[in-house]
């Protein structure tokens, strides 16, 4: 029963419009997420491709994989690597964010782009970089051996431990971006209080600042774990020679194991992966029940002040420097060097092997040029569109606590749990067999849609983290002067989360630049993107071109990142 006041407000406001708009947003999101997913589920219950006339319903696919010892090995390895990388990435990402965002470390601004580098370079390329730089005969390995006169370098790349460490390090930016976005909105009064009471900067970080941004940290931990289960490029390059399988590479192996592609087996594995991630989602939701008490943008927000590090500046700088050297400089310099030489390894005089041939070839090959243009487009324009869509979904959920909110919360987490390779395949099916979309299959739109859905969870978390930090009292203030829901969203909430949205755009730009597996099956003339092109070239073994294209990718993104950072700095002033 509406109160008279409520009735008055309702007649004066476009509230029903908001409800319609919300319903539409939910419907579109649900279709985009559940359509391809249900196709995968259906496929896993068949004995042949779903479009094949000879298909039959049955559990044969599950029977096969559960009897396959490789499946269990892959499952175990996935859990080991995911756990390891989460343990490494979350604390390190949080600490780096604290150092960068809250302290007075001199020259730290220069480091920021480098910290973000691993998140916009395709993991496949980074792994390749590690092989070239620090593998058994890598540039750095050989230099190390010559410098210290040892036979063997004290590190190895092809083990589960090494994979967990490398995956952990390369996923630090995922945590970092979430943590900084949250720290940015944190008043510095509590930190100052702790400092005055005699706590060291490390203690401030671990016991005050990071616990205050727990929602972001938890989200990023769960996401890193997700990403760990889904790891593909890294174990493909580093695990394959030793036969170390993880879930995604096991799935990939099924493409060929039976001679013809076994979609039903691949789909069954994908369903198993989704089944693993769901309990995690439930756990995460429980942990976040009390998220409201973390609201830190208040009507009476204090001034932001940087924490003086004092003698702690050196350890902080050392941590930052070591991270950047190992995670960024080593693999990227490996790639860069590889792009300019014809051959490498033991006893090769690099100065004799120098060449520009690879770049010349890329420049004269229309497919590669198109891939470069498309990659820029999908990152900049596509990224902005994607953030707009995510924001719409965010608002559909904001300050609501009904069943639909819970539904959307689960929904957005689902696609990320599906391995990109198979999500891409499912989207190819959709674009092939769903008539309204078929004309768009060979346009970059198909790749954009697939990317946006696959990375939904990732982007949504950033947006809802920002939204969650806006204390309800500000919106209630608007409401008390008679603003409608739409007006509040547009004029109060949206401006407040603008830094968060810009950060999201930057983040989405970066992940779109580096995404590779999702686009593999959508690759066609017109839809080339560098990531998928790299996988294809890697398969063919054109490794010099892979190195050259990767370097071009890194440079392009570097330029984009530079511009974005400048923009970001201005906004902060």
């Amino acid at each position: 029963m509406a109160t008279p006041a409520g009735a008055l407000q309702r007649t004066a406001s476009p509230l029903p419009a908001f409800a319609t708009w919300r319903a539409l947003t939910i419907l579109v999101t649900a279709t985009a997420v559940l359509g391809p997913l249900s196709l995968i589920l259906y496929q896993s219950l068949l004995t042949a491709p779903f479009f094949d006339a000879s298909k039959q319903l049955g559990f044969g696919a599950y029977d096969f994989i559960f009897r396959d010892p490789d499946f269990w090995k892959a499952l175990r390895n996935s859990f080991l690597i995911s756990t390891g990388m989460t343990i490494i990435a979350v604390p390190l990402g949080g600490l780096l964010a604290f150092v960068m965002e809250r302290t007075d470390l001199p020259g730290k601004r220069w480091f920021e782009p480098f910290i973000l580098v691993p998140s916009f370079v395709s993991p496949m390329v980074l792994s390749f970089g590690f092989v070239v730089a620090a593998g058994p005969v890598g540039f750095y390995t050989v230099w190390f051996q010559e410098l210290f006169g040892v036979e063997q370098a004290p590190w190895g790349l092809y083990s589960i431990t090494a994979m967990a460490v490398i995956a952990g390090l390369t996923h630090v930016p995922n945590v970092y971006v979430y943590a900084t976005a949250a720290l940015k909105n944190l008043g510095s009064d509590v930190e100052e209080a702790a400092r005055v009471a005699g706590a060291s900067p490390l203690r401030v970080a671990l016991e005050v600042s990071l616990p205050l941004i727990m929602p972001s940290m938890l989200f990023s931990a769960v996401l890193v774990f997700f990403l760990g289960i889904e790891l593909f490029g890294l174990p493909l390059v580093l695990g394959d020679p030793e036969g170390i399988l993880v879930m995604a590479t096991y799935l990939y192996k099924l493409t060929n194991k039976l001679g013809v592609p076994s979609y039903h087996l691949m789909a069954a594995v994908a369903v198993c992966i989704v089944a693993i991630t769901f309990p995690l989602v439930l756990l995460q939701r429980r942990l976040l029940q009390g998220a409201r008490k973390y609201a830190t943008i208040k009507g009476k927000a204090g001034r932001m002040k940087e924490l003086p590090l004092g003698k702690w500046a050196w350890p902080a700088a050392a941590l930052l420097g070591l991270f950047v050297f190992v995670t960024v400089i080593v693999p990227i310099s490996g790639i860069a060097l590889r792009a300019f030489v014809t051959n490498w390894g033991f006893g090769v005089n690099l100065s004799e092997a120098l060449t520009l041939e690879s770049f010349r070839f890329v420049w004269h090959e229309p497919t590669h040029v198109r891939a470069i243009v498309n990659t820029v487009l999908i990152g900049v324009v596509g990224g902005a569109l994607t953030v707009a869509c995510y924001t719409a979904i965010g608002f559909a959920n904001h300050r609501r606590n009904d069943g639909w909110t819970r539904f959307l919360d689960y929904l957005v987490l689902v696609p990320r749990a599906v391995p990109g390779l198979l999500a891409g395949l499912a989207f190819l099916w959709v674009f092939l067999f769903f008539p309204p979309l078929t004309p768009l299959r060979t346009t970059i739109f198909s790749v954009w849609l697939a990317y946006s859905v696959v990375w939904l969870a990732y982007g949504m978390r950033l947006i809802s983290s920002s939204l969650m930090q806006v204390s309800p009292e500000l919106e209630e203030a608007g409401r008390s002067v008679g603003a409608t829901r739409g007006t509040i969203s547009r004029q109060i909430t949206l401006p407040l989360i603008r830094p968060g949205l810009l950060a999201s755009w930057l983040l989405v730009f970066m992940i779109f630049e580096r995404e590779y597996s999702t686009a593999v099956y959508l690759l066609a003339p017109g839809t080339e993107v560098i990531g998928a092109q790299l996988v294809s070239l890697w398969q063919g073994g054109a490794i010099d071109i892979v190195a050259a294209l990767s370097l071009i990718n890194i440079v392009l993104v570097g330029i984009g990142l530079g511009i974005a950072l400048r923009f970001g700095v201005k906004l902060r002033d």
Binding site: P49, Y252, V260, N343, G345, F346, L432, I543
Partner: protein, 365 residues
Amino acid sequence: MRNWLKCAAGALALAPLVVVAQVPAGYPADYAKTVEAAKKEGKVVVYSALDTKAAQPLIKDFSALYPDVKVEYNDMNSTEMYNRYIAEAASGQGSADIMWSSAMDLQVKLVDEGKALAYKSPEQAKLPAWAHYKDQAYGTTFEPTVFIYNKRLVTGDDIPHDHAGFAKIINSKPDKFKGKVTSFDIEKSGVGFMMVVQDTKYFPGLKDLEKGFGATSYKVYSSTGNMLEKVSSGEHIIGYNILGSYALVRAKKDPNLGVSMPKDYALVLSRVMFIGKQAKNPNAAKLFLDYILSQRGQKLIGGEVELFALRDDVDAEYTAGKLKKEMGDKLKPIPIGSEITAYLDKDKRLQFINDWKAGVASGAK
């Protein structure tokens, strides 16, 4: 003189005679109709496992020959190609006009399933009997499998010259070769699988090789490019069942890489081409297929493309003819026919893989 020719050509272009002039020598007269129809279609869509870089000379030359037919060339790996083709065919949206792949078994399977267009190429008589199938699928190259080694790290007696020798070398020095031997992952690479199945026909000592692989914990990859890179860099030093076409090209400019042609026998792989049943540009596809099989196309394949020309009557740097002079009947082409699809049967394939793994495991200590 040249002007006069231009005028004549201009005049001819207006006359129907020029159509006849475009029909290659020895082709049936009604081929002109195919050419005309192809011009109207205006393009040919090619799916190929040969990367664009390598295929560029062929595309250029074909465009010079038929300027009105544009080549839309898509390179992808052979499994992806098969996946895409069956999905697109099932959706009824039309797919590739030309399928060109090194996964010979998958290509033959598609033909057997009626997904290829029947077309008897006028060039068919010039091909060896094993290289065409049901007037639908055609072999286009003659690529031997070879051994590779790192020239700086493998010398003298350690360079393998035949299959038994390869097995003996790695079995006798397991310490030197520990972790340094590489070959195809037969679970991931259809081509790699097909080759070891063929090995069972010609190499009685295959079990010893499997043992050697186990004893040295050999490293497996799904693409030739990776193996070449790793052997060149010295991470691995010796490789088995490598596609000779790629290896020889790289060895030419890479001083680290050595290639050894097996003296006892060498398997020969031929990229299989057919026209799609639902091809939207069937006439343009016919021109493309005939061009690839023609002397002109084959000469480029054996030359700039740096694969091996299949036809005996072609003179180029890499040709079947030259190989045959050197190796005679030691060359064992993998036949294009139902023999090679036998192992696409799930149970048979898994059995083979398990036997292979057991053989490898028996050598590991």
